[in-house]
Structure formats: C-alpha cells, structure tokens
Amino acid sequence: MNVPLHGIIAEFESAEDLLHAAKRAREAGYTQMDAYSPFPIHGLSEAIGFEDHKVPWTVFITGVIGAIAGFSLQYYISVVDYPLNVGGRPFLSWPSFIPVTFETTVLFASFGAFIGMLAFNGLPQPYHPIFNAPRFERASQDRFFLCIEAKDPLFDRTKTRQFLESLGARLVSEVEE
C-alpha cells in the first residue's frame, strides 16, 4: 500500500469524454495532469492547461541561426575566401544567396523542431511509470486516458480517485512510480 504513486489514471471511451474530463479536472483545481490518446484531439492541450512555447521558440531561434549561418557561409566563400568575378556582378550578390539562405533556415528550423521536441519531452526515456497503468497499451489504439499526477498539490489518493470515478471513467486505477 505504501508504494509511491505516479498518479491516478482514468480510462475513457471517447475523445469527447476525455476532453470533458480534462476540463472538469481543471475546474476542480488540478494542474498536474497528462492526457493520452491514439490521435491528436483539438483543444486537449489547452484543456489540461498545457502552456509551453519552448519548442516554437526553439524552432524560431534555430531558424534565425540557420539564416545567418547560410548567408554568412556564402558571404565568406564569395566575398572573403575566394572572390570570383561572375559576369561583372558584385561579389556580394545577395539575391543569389537567398535560395541557399532559405534552405539553411528550413534545415536548421527542422532540426530545431525535431531535436527540441525530443529534448523538451525528455526523450528518449527508457522508463516511464505511466506504462505501469493497466490496459495502457490501448492508449495507442482506441482508449483515452487522463492521469492526475501525484505531484499535484490537490492530489489525494482517495479523493482524486473518487473524483475521476465521478467523471464517468470506464476504469480508474493507481499508477505506481
């Protein structure tokens, strides 16, 4: 009985039920929760109070770095290191630098999105307690889960359990740490 808990998880049958439950949990004052579903549900991240702009900002900043890097690379090659007279044009022929600058912007931004997403999600992660939850494999098939985590200030083993049950969950169970 004294096993530390990761949280209490509730299983729902539909996206609407999950959305509704997440909303109710927020209204009840819970802040530390996570939702799991087989497909993206519009409005769910807002419903569980997920406000995180780290990834978008990472993409933006890496994109800007990519633009500067791409342009600087061409500037260094064409103006500093190996200036060539091409049809009498200036060495700093910026219009012809733009396509490469655009490409490096996209490239760096994509890396920023991919690596940033992994890093801020804490991935790769060999162990996560959520997989202790019964029937959790169905989160990737046809069930919708809402987990209120033990670190939530309002978390109470009995009350939280009762609360989740009152939301019409199909199954409510404790998740061991």
Binding site: L19, K23, H42, G43, P56, G87, P95, S96, I98, P99
Partner: protein, 398 residues
C-alpha cells in the same frame, strides 16, 4: 428584432453607404476626366480597376478552392467569398471604360507605336484590339458561369438540404480551379503585363493568382472579424478558426514572396536587357523605396506577425494584420502598374484615390447586397456541424 436581423441590417447599411460613397467618388472622378485629361483618367481607372478585380478574382478562386478541398475553415467566410465572386457581372460593366481607354493604356493598341517597332509588329497576331476584347469576354463568360452555378447550388442546398449538391459543387470546383488558373493567367497577361508589351515573365499568372488569394483571405477575414461581434458569426468565430485563417493567410504571404522573388531572381541572374528593364524601372527615381517597403511590409512583417500563435488567437490583433495586408496589396499593385505607364517616380494622383474609392464603393455595395441576399452562414452544410463542434470544445475551454 432578433440579433441576426440586426447583422443583416448592418450589411444593408454598409451597402447603402458604399453606394453613396462610390457614386460621389465616381462623379468627382468624372470631373477629373475633364480636369486632368483622359490619359491620366484611364491610367488611374485601370489601376483602381485591377486592385478591385484582383480581390474579385481572389474571392472567386477561394470559392473554387473551398468547394474542392472542403475545409471547415471556408464555411464561415463562404458567403463573403460567394458575394465577392458575385461582383463579376458588375466588374464586367466596369471593364468597359478599360476597353474605351485601350489606346491610352496599351502601347500595342496604338498603330503609330506598332508601326515604329518591329517586335510589336510580330506580336499583333495576339495583341490586337478585337482579339483582346474577345478574350476578355471569354474570361468573363467562364468566370460568371462558374460563379453563378456554384452560388446557386450553395443557396439551393440551404433551402432544400440536398446533400448531393455538395458533391456536385466539388465536381465543378476541381476542374473549375484548373480553368481558373489558366484564364486568370491569360487575363493578367492581357490586362496588366501587356502594358509593357516588350517584357514577359512566365511566372506572372501564378504571381498574380497568389496575390489575389492573399487579398481575398485578408478581405474575407477582415469582414468576418468585424462581424464577429454579432450573431450568427459570434457563434462560429473561435481561436481554432482564426488560427486556420491566419495560417492560410500566412501561407499566401510566403507564396507571394516566393513567386515575387523567383521572378526577380531569374531576371536579375540572366540580366537580359528586355527582361531586367522591368526591375530597373522599379528601382530608381524613388520606386526603390516602394520595392524595399513591399519586401519588408508585405512579406517580413506579416510573416513574423502571423508566425505568432498569439496574433492568430486574438481576433483584434489578427484583424489589424489583415487590414494592413489589404493596404499593402494596393501599394503592391501601384508598384506593378504605375511604372508601366512611364511614371518615373512614385506619385499618387488624386484620381487614383477617387477611382479606388469609386470602384470600391460600387464593389462593396454589390458585395453587401449579395451577403444580405442569403443566409449569413451556409445552413445545411453538414460540415458546419464540424465547425460548431470545434467551437464548443474551444469556447468551453477558454
């Protein structure tokens, strides 16, 4: 009076005000015909006409796009797009002054210019007055026919609820879009590119179509966001919708930059006298500041603003961006058209303004009348329920 009727009344008032403004501005412009001379009049008229025609074609193109891809983003603005496309018959009538002023506008329509230039003589097979008029008539016939059929079908479905009409519009929309791109490409080559008949660009049609799409997105979103405080629009405008419209506008901002820059880069790289003259004209005598302003204000600024999810979430912020884009579109077309008339430095003639207001007044009058003539939101479209569902999930969260 119920709130929806009040919204209708607002559109009716817009229509009356626009008509009054339009008629006054056109009367003033008619005086300008005598005061400033017919050459200036026709040049200003051509510019103002193309600005509003780009919006008309943009709304028409988006109607076709909406019926083809059936995105839920198109439903709340569908009636504005349809009403915009419904101005095509009006634009046909307003095209007559362009035909009347052809010899003032188009060098190839002046026999003495053609006689003095061998290149133009070789182009007379295509660039001649009767063929130009026939082609324009064909474009209008195709556009008006398509727009009318789609509008009727959409209104009929509102009455009868017959869901097979949805598929029917999709079947028209997809080939219609192909026809649209082809006809608009030809129309823009005829009406605008041939102002400088010795110059050519193969991306021209795409460049204009993208600009038209941008105008239409900015315009319909503007109308929607202004109307969003009133029913029934208040029920469908939500963060999900504003994000979608913001993102689509964002895509068109990028596409506009892409096509503009492609055209510039290819001509700049080749540096052939007959091509580069276009940009030489537009980068001296003060036009270079407009070129720079367009790059910064029609690309970088809206790009950065629409990148932010905050701007797309708040209707008030998004509205400002959209109005700004609409203004920049008029500046963009000024930059495209006026140097073609030999205007060596950017100067706005007062006729440019009065004709912009005159044609715009008539345009908005016709537009608002057509908005009033139908349910403000497509009623029996099963997909509006999708939009409603999003609305409920999103608003209940907020």
């Amino acid at each position: 009076m119920n709130p929806v009727q009040e919204t209708y009344q607002r559109f009716a008032r817009l229509s009356q005000t626009a008509l009054a403004v339009g008629i006054i501005a056109l009367l003033v412009s008619a005086a300008g015909f005598a005061l400033a001379g017919k050459t200036q009049f026709f040049r200003s008229y051509h510019y103002a006409y193309i600005v509003w025609m780009c919006l008309t074609l943009g709304t028409f193109g988006l109607t076709l796009l909406h019926h083809t891809v059936r995105g839920s983003w198109g439903l709340p603005i569908l009636r504005f797009l349809e009403a915009g496309a419904a101005t095509l018959p009006l634009m046909l009538v307003l095209f007559l002054p362009v035909v009347a002023g052809m010899s003032e506008l188009y060098p190839w329509a002046r026999p003495e210019v053609v006689q003095a230039n061998e290149h133009l003589q070789h182009k007379t097979g295509y660039l001649n007055v009767p063929f130009f008029i026939v082609r324009s008539a064909v474009y209008f016939a195709i556009w008006i026919a398509l727009a009318t059929v789609l509008r009727r079908s959409s209104l009929k479905q509102d009455e009868t609820g017959d869901a097979t009409l949805l598929q029917q519009r999709m079947n028209i929309g997809a080939p219609g879009l192909v026809l649209f791109v082809l006809t608009v490409t030809f129309a823009m080559i005829d009406w605008v590119m041939s102002l400088e008949p010795l110059w050519q660009s193969s991306i021209y049609g795409a460049w204009f179509i993208v600009g038209q799409g941008l105008s239409a997105f900015a315009f319909s979103t503007t109308v929607l966001l202004i109307a969003a405080r009133h029913k029934p629009f208040a029920d469908v405008v939500n963060p999900k919708l504003t994000r979608d419209l913001g993102n689509l506008t964002f895509a068109f901002v990028i596409l506009w930059a892409y096509t503009s820059f492609s055209q510039f880069l290819i001509m700049w790289s080749a540096n052939l006298p007959e091509e580069i003259v276009y940009y030489v004209k537009r980068n001296q005598g003060g036009w270079q500041y407009i070129s720079a302003a367009l790059t910064v204000l029609q690309f970088f600024l809206p790009f950065l603003l629409l990148l932010s999810s905050r701007v797309k979430r708040y209707a008030g912020l998004l509205l400002k961006v959209m109005v700004f884009i609409l203004v920049m579109r008029a500046v963009d077309l000024f930059w495209i058209i006026q140097p073609a008339f030999g205007l060596e430095s950017p100067r706005v003639h007062w006729l440019d303004i009065t004709l912009l207001a005159g044609i715009g007044g008539l345009w908005l009058w016709w537009f608002a009348r057509h908005v009033c003539a139908a349910p403000l939101l497509p009623r029996h479209d099963p997909r509006l329920q999708e939009a409603w569902l999003y609305e409920h999930s999103a608003s209940s969260v907020a």
